[in-house]
Amino acid sequence: MLWQALTLQLGYNATLVTLGAAMLGMAAGATGTFLYLSKRALVSDAISHATLPGVVLGFMAMVAIGGDGRFLPGLMLGSAVSAGLGLLAVTWLTTRTRLAEDAAIGAVLSVFFGFGIVLLTVVQVMDSGRQAGLETFLLGATAGMLWNEAMLIAGGGALVLALVVLLRRPMSLVAFDPGYAMGQGISLRAVELAMMGLALAITVVGLKVVGLVLIVALLIIPPVAARFWSERVGAVVAIAGLIGGLSGYAGAAISATAPALPTGPIIVLAAFGLFVLSLLLAPGRGVLAAALRHLRFQRRVHLRQGLLALATGQPVYEPLTLRLMRRAGLVRADGVATEEGRAMAARARRDERRWQILRSDPEFEAAAARYDGLTPLGEVLTADQIAAVDQGLRPEGAV
């Protein structure tokens, strides 16, 4: 059944819901990247918790005028209004009072959420409310989702994604260097408004699928995971979109296999799985790669130090150094240098002296910055440049 869900063989509606969740995840990952890079990610937590009163009030209003209280666009509208108010409250508290943003987020989040829970309790003692299943908006559920609801979610996700692509440049500039961005004539307020508006849109669109408690995870985890893979903002956005999309897809598919499974937590767990993979396996910033690099670096340092000691006739005491040099055939078992060892030691010594000259000459500043005690000079300079350096190289002892 799981395989069928993942390969979209559970029927037309389930397929649509899965694709809608994937689109939502892509949009959330891309949007979240800019929140994360401008260190505003937690604002989205306040936004999402502030949707609850709006959902319930929207439901009550639609029932009061005799409509279907579960009409999704109506619930989304209600949630957008109350989330907008929450966002406004956070912004007002941060800019107009001395409260820091984290305190403002905490205050707004808890008050709006508490109020929403009270309203939810009231609705659930009403007859019409009992069967409404509004509590599924807390953790998300895709079971029994309608065709047009899935379309709304996919369409909303696609629209947000398009807007992120359109605004990526000003949002990157503002996230990296707001002062310079303003100097370029970019309105900081407009860009922040757009960024928060997109986060709000993701929250509202994602309510039904991921639920308001966990939507923040879909905004934050994908960019944080993507950051392990790249040093370029465009690539981070794309990878975050991919991770978010995969999480949404897998989460929706898995939760379709059992009606009682809430979708939000499964999506978040899928995203977390991808985060752990990134943390461990990413080639640049990943933990394993960093550990391997450190180990390899340590060995190179030991070998080089051993060679330099050989060249100056100093004894080598470090067991690791000796072991590495023996294994490389540079010294014999009794610690005496082999012919190859002596030759390499002489080369290392010459390289080191060239580096010294290079580093004392401002002409070679760019090259000198690459000095790490290990890199052979030939990798940094051309033969001509080395010849120029060698003119400063006098026979040892003559200085």
């Binding site: 890079l37 100097g183 004539g185 040093e231």
Partner: protein
């Protein structure tokens, strides 16, 4: 001594690359900059000098519209700032950004082309070539593909200058470009700034090292919340004026150095 007092004839400053009138900026109840009138001369290098907290950076930020003044007017070549953005290049303080941001050196310089590229314009070979040229001018072309977090402080400062160069502006506003940089960087930056001046650009820099003012700059603007004096280094950069700007905070030895310089 022909000391040109600031604000003596602000109505004549209208065509200057940058003229500021009646500028007051306050972060709370205490103004950081109070009622400053100053004009910066075209094709000259002017240092903004004053003690810590004297409002030097704030003046620059207000001139760029980064902080909103309580009162006052900023004009660029006699026109409102908003129309002249393309002609102003800003080099902010290095410490003001997160250097772990996912960007390579070349990407940061390409940010200087934002106004040319717009929202959706594609970055083409010609843009990259221009960015590389600017990197070469500051001696950083060998670092184009580096992640910005791997640079030293001086190198970061040079990348910021390259980004400003990419804009092709004729008014350069720099906030402490020499703060905490190595000697090679200081030399590279001053060479570029003097070249810009030779090309006719106007350079205004917040500067904290009094000893190098006469070597590096043509003019000085002394500020301590209010404007003290603006004019050629020889006329304005005097022990008396510095005493006024710094109060008792300037060591006698420094004053001696200034008088001798």
């Amino acid at each position: 001594m022909a000391l040109e007092l600031v604000g003596s004839a602000p109505e004549q400053n209208d065509d200057l690359p940058l003229s500021i009138r009646g500028l007051t900026v306050s972060y709370g109840e205490k103004p950081a900059v109070f009622s400053v009138d100053v004009g910066f001369q075209p094709g000259q290098m002017t240092a903004i000098v004053g003690p810590n907290g004297a409002g030097k950076s704030t003046l620059l930020k207000a001139a760029l519209g980064i902080v909103t003044p309580l009162s006052g007017q900023v004009r660029c070549h006699g026109r409102p700032l908003a129309e002249m953005r393309a002609r102003i290049a800003y080099v902010p303080q290095r410490a003001s950004v997160d250097w772990d941001f996912p960007a390579r050196v070349l990407d940061v310089v390409l940010m200087g082309l934002y106004r040319d590229l717009g929202l959706l314009g594609r970055i083409r070979g010609q843009h990259r070539a221009r960015a590389m040229e600017c990197l070469a001018r500051v001696g950083m072309d060998g670092f184009a593909a580096r992640q910005i977090g791997q640079l030293s402080g001086g190198q970061q400062q040079r990348v910021f200058l390259a980004r400003a160069l990419a804009q092709g502006a004729d008014l350069y506003l720099l906030d402490e470009p020499f703060a905490g940089v190595d000697a090679a960087t200081e030399k590279a930056i001053i060479t570029v700034l003097k070249d810009l001046k030779a090309e006719g650009a106007t350079v205004v820099a917040v500067h904290h090292d009094l000893a190098t003012v006469p070597d590096y700059f043509d003019r000085v603007f002394l500020i301590n919340t209010t404007a003290i004096a603006e004019g050629p280094v020889a006329d304005v950069f005097t022990p008396e004026n510095l005493q006024t700007a710094y109060g008792g905070r300037l060591a006698l030895a420094q004053m001696g150095g200034v008088a001798a310089g």
